[in-house]
Amino acid sequence: MRLSRRAELLLRAASAVTLAFIYIPLVVIFVYAFNTSRVLEWPPPGLTTSWIGEAIDNSGARDAFFTSLEVAAVATLVALILGALASLAVARFRFFGRETISFLVVLPIALPGIVTGVALNTTFTQFLGVGLGLWTIVIGHATFCIVVVYNNAVARLRRVSGSLEEASADLGATPWMTFRRVTLPSMQTALVAGGLLAFGLSFDEIIVTTFTAGAGEQTLPLWIFTNFSRPNQLPIVNVVAVFVILLSIIPVYMAHKLTREEGGASPGRGGGTAVAAEGTAIP
């Protein structure tokens, strides 16, 4: 589309302002991580790297980090298995209620996180009468992580035609052989991407987590949240916050690289959709 010079300039300016709006708060947190002062004042009076060492030595933050890794790893594994199975059924078979599956998978992330949290909390504490612990967090996380694996895998399976599998069958392969030699390899990078995003999603989640975590269990976001109210911990919270941002960038970037060809130039379909679908999730 041909734009007048003035219109294009305006558009560029608006885009730049929006991008600045997105990135300035992240930069602020980076700067505060090196703040010499123990209070949050702007501009920081000086810069230091000493808080990084203190953060590494902080046993509370370290324990919470390992708890988060553990939760995210198990939740991702469950989501990978369930998401892959559902995607195979939806993309390769016709059956009654097929349309409902996508809706069912998206629901835990489309409803506000607080609804999922309270529902699971009520079920665990009132109905099942079990204590909240580490595994109740895992169940909550796995539930809303299924969607990212599912979306990525379905997008891939739709792109890779089923005729390859038919050809394999025609050449005498058993269904198991076809699955191992044809279907699984073609899904591989989509599953890795979905798994990475699920991991990131779980690692970052706090709303459902607060309702499903046992009294003794603390994930990294929960640790950060409880330490907001402890002024003497602020410098360490700042460092941990930066660490969390950096850590969450890696899986997203890698997942994007792995699925960028999905749907050609438009990231809205395929890979991009899978990424955007989280929307409903984080909270």
């Binding site: 209070v39 609804v115 529902a119 269904p175 929307g279 984080i282």
Partner: protein, 284 residues
């Protein structure tokens, strides 16, 4: 073992579908929908007057409290209003950037911009809320920038919640709008141009109607996520929102908290039904 199992399934598509779906559907229907059903049931329970324990007797008292006490109405209204404001703000911010990404930027820049929008979409929600807490604080950047010109920032409160929520959910609007704009062929815009339309007219009469379903798709996220949030509002405001009220009641009055969750659920069901009418689901 794998082979023998495979032979069992051979030529039996129904058995294959059943085996594939048993796990995921079992988890989501029994585990998740089951939990939602229990949540609904719990909203009709009550607290024992003496014991303070949850009693499983059917009563509509919780809903009567929700409707009769003005504070719940005020909180619901405030939350819905802010969610609506956040949605409009994000749509206004997303459109120019998404249009630039989809139709103006060169190929190489396009890829970079998509990554630039995607990365903060996933980066820690909590940290982003925290960043705004520091920015809006008494000694924060907002006041530091505005002080020389004799102004001061909004501080903590409703304006802060609106700002923070708009910030956190913005990428969820940009991505579907960008995808929607990508799907509009360049030739359509060129045709409008050839017929003498100025850019603003092209936007109003051609782009907006075509991209509207995508905007609605993005609004599902921005609206729903704002509606149920309680962490960010509690960080930058002392006002009550639907999420903060539910959270503060969960330990001492679970039936009331459960009853109040039906409010955002009902609002979202209406919203999703409306969104479907606008064709938003092809863009999610």
């Amino acid at each position: 073992m794998g082979r023998r199992l495979a032979d069992l399934f051979h030529g039996r598509p129904r058995l294959q579908v059943g085996a594939l779906l048993a796990g995921p559907v079992g988890w989501l229907v029994v585990g998740y929908l089951g939990s939602l059903a229990i949540l609904l049931a719990a909203s009709f329970w009550t607290l024992g007057e003496l014991s303070g324990e949850v009693e499983r007797t059917f009563t509509t008292a919780n809903f009567e409290t929700l409707f009769s006490e003005g504070v719940f109405r005020t909180v619901t209204l405030r939350t819905v209003l802010i969610a609506a404001l956040v949605t409009v703000t994000d749509a206004m911010l997303a459109l120019p950037l998404a249009f630039f990404m989809a139709k103006v930027a060169r190929r190489r820049w396009k890829g970079l911009l998509v990554v630039a929008v995607l990365v903060p979409l996933w980066s820690s929600y909590l940290v982003k809320a925290y960043a705004w807490r520091t920015i809006l604080s008494e000694d924060g950047i907002f006041n530091w920038v505005l002080d020389p010109i004799g102004l001061s920032g909004p501080g903590y409160g409703n304006v802060a919640v609106w700002l923070v929520m708009s910030y956190i959910w913005l990428p969820f609007m940009i991505i579907p709008v960008y995808a929607g704009l990508e799907r509009i062929p360049d030739s359509v815009l060129a045709a409008s141009d050839d017929l003498g339309a100025k850019p603003w007219r092209t936007f109003r009469s051609v782009i907006w109607p075509l991209v509207f379903p995508a905007v609605v798709a993005g609004s599902i996220f921005t609206f729903s996520l704002t509606l149920g949030d309680y962490i960010a509002p509690s960080l930058v405001s002392s006002n009550q929102f639907i999420g903060t009220v539910i959270y503060s009641n969960i330990t001492n009055n679970l039936p009331l908290a459960a009853a109040y969750t039906t409010v955002p659920i009902a609002i979202m069901i209406v919203y999703l039904l409306l969104a479907r009418r606008f064709g938003a689901f092809e863009h999610v």
